[in-house]
């Protein structure tokens, strides 16, 4: 794929970036009320910390379901771009969802994976990505051809902008460090859901 020419082919060739920093870089580029589904754990916390938007949905539990929830939003609102923001441990729970996304050819969906090779929130136990599993390669194998590792911060921004501009589905793999998140998501599910539905124009 020509878009991937400037991006590393393998996980171990990608720069280790900071999760909060690149989450902010992503959120800054959301100019058309794009929906973001934040998976659980520190990925979610840093999405919260990067600036709360009514179009953000913050999961609390149901580990692994960020991609399916994002796919549902994308099916309901085909004119809106939807981003699933998920961790490595989480996506490993629900790899089948990558095949479902590919089979649907869901054009308005992008998946961003924050991969630090650990179940960080539970004490830093290694995930299988630290031991050789490559999520971008698995996504390509599932049929998401537009899957790439972000070489560095600049490449990440370029991939995000590409995924917002061009038809998907997309998967952007990000190697990240093990820094603590900048804040903690408020655990109030009905409020989160209500604000999200208003942010999507479903409720007034």
């Amino acid at each position: 794929m020509s878009f991937a020419a400037n991006h590393p082919a393998r996980r171990d060739q990608a720069k280790v970036m900071n999760r909060f920093d690149i989450t902010k870089r992503m959120v800054t580029r959301l100019k058309h009320d794009e929906a973001v589904i934040g998976g659980i754990g520190y990925t979610n916390f840093d999405l919260w910390a990067a600036g709360q938007r009514p179009q953000n949905f913050y999961m609390l539990g149901s580990m692994g379901l960020a991609v399916p929830i994002a796919l549902g939003v994308a099916l309901a609102q085909p004119a809106r771009k939807v981003i699933a923001l998920e961790g490595d441990g989480s996506i490993l729970m629900q790899l089948g969802s990558l095949a479902t996304v590919a089979a649907r050819k869901q054009q308005n969906l992008a998946i961003v994976i924050m991969d630090n090779g650990t179940y960080q929130i539970t004490g830093g136990q290694p995930t299988s990505t630290e031991l050789g599993a490559d999520i971008v390669a698995m996504a390509r194998g599932a049929g998401i051809a537009q899957s790439a590792w972000a070489a560095d911060e600049g490449a990440f921004e370029e991939l995000v902008e590409l995924s917002l501009r061009e038809d998907g589905p997309w998967l952007i793999g990000c190697r990240i460090d093990k820094e603590k998140p900048a804040d903690t998501t408020e655990r109030d599910p009905p409020r989160i859901r209500d604000q999200f539905m208003r942010g999507l124009g479903v409720k007034r």
Partner: protein, 176 residues
């Protein structure tokens, strides 16, 4: 019961779902559900597709609801057994009316011991989570149960489970 007649259980379910604008169907296949799934694929009103796992289907239908599109999850009893976490941490606390239709195996002539054992977990889980659920055993109650329960699920923002008893569907019979 003739499965080809418009008033078979699956025809009634399709009609009621249409009346309630339930368009999205995310399923993990089941033999008893086959006529329903076939009818949904054949009807352009529905967007129906299979998922790798039942949890995934619950996530998709939850996201669709928040985006303004109503959906339902189809599965069999063994698939329901994979769902307590998704129901307890997504559908119930976020107040999302996820509709679920379960083809009941494990009873009334089950030939697979795994199915008969896992089936016993379904109603205790539903009771523990206080999720509204109805077992449909007769053709003449299908429309009332599905129609009223969808109205209630939406109005009260709560998930609902419809259990298709072998008494209604004939179930899956011992093949050899």
């Amino acid at each position: 019961m003739d499965e080809e007649t418009p008033h078979a259980w699956h025809g009634i379910v399709c009609d009621v779902l249409k009346r309630h604008q339930v368009k999205l169907v995310a399923y993990v296949p089941d033999n008893v559900l086959r006529p329903l799934i076939d009818a949904m694929h054949a009807d352009p009103f529905f967007t129906a597709f299979s998922c790798a796992r039942e949890e995934e289907a619950v996530g998709i239908v939850s996201g669709a609801w928040m985006g303004g599109l109503r959906g339902i999850v189809l599965m069999q009893t063994s698939g329901f057994a994979t769902l307590p976490n998704a129901i307890a941490s997504l559908a119930v606390p976020f107040q999302i009316p996820v509709l679920m239709l379960v083809s009941e195996r494990g009873t009334l002539g089950e030939f697979n011991i795994g199915q008969s054992l896992v089936a016993r977990t379904m109603r205790p889980v539903l009771e523990a989570l206080a999720v509204e659920h109805h077992t449909m055993t007769r053709l003449d109650e299908v429309e009332f149960i599905v129609d009223r329960s969808i109205t209630q699920a939406v109005a009260t923002q709560a998930p609902c489970v419809f259990i298709l008893s072998p008494l209604l569907t004939g179930g899956k019979v011992f093949a050899k």
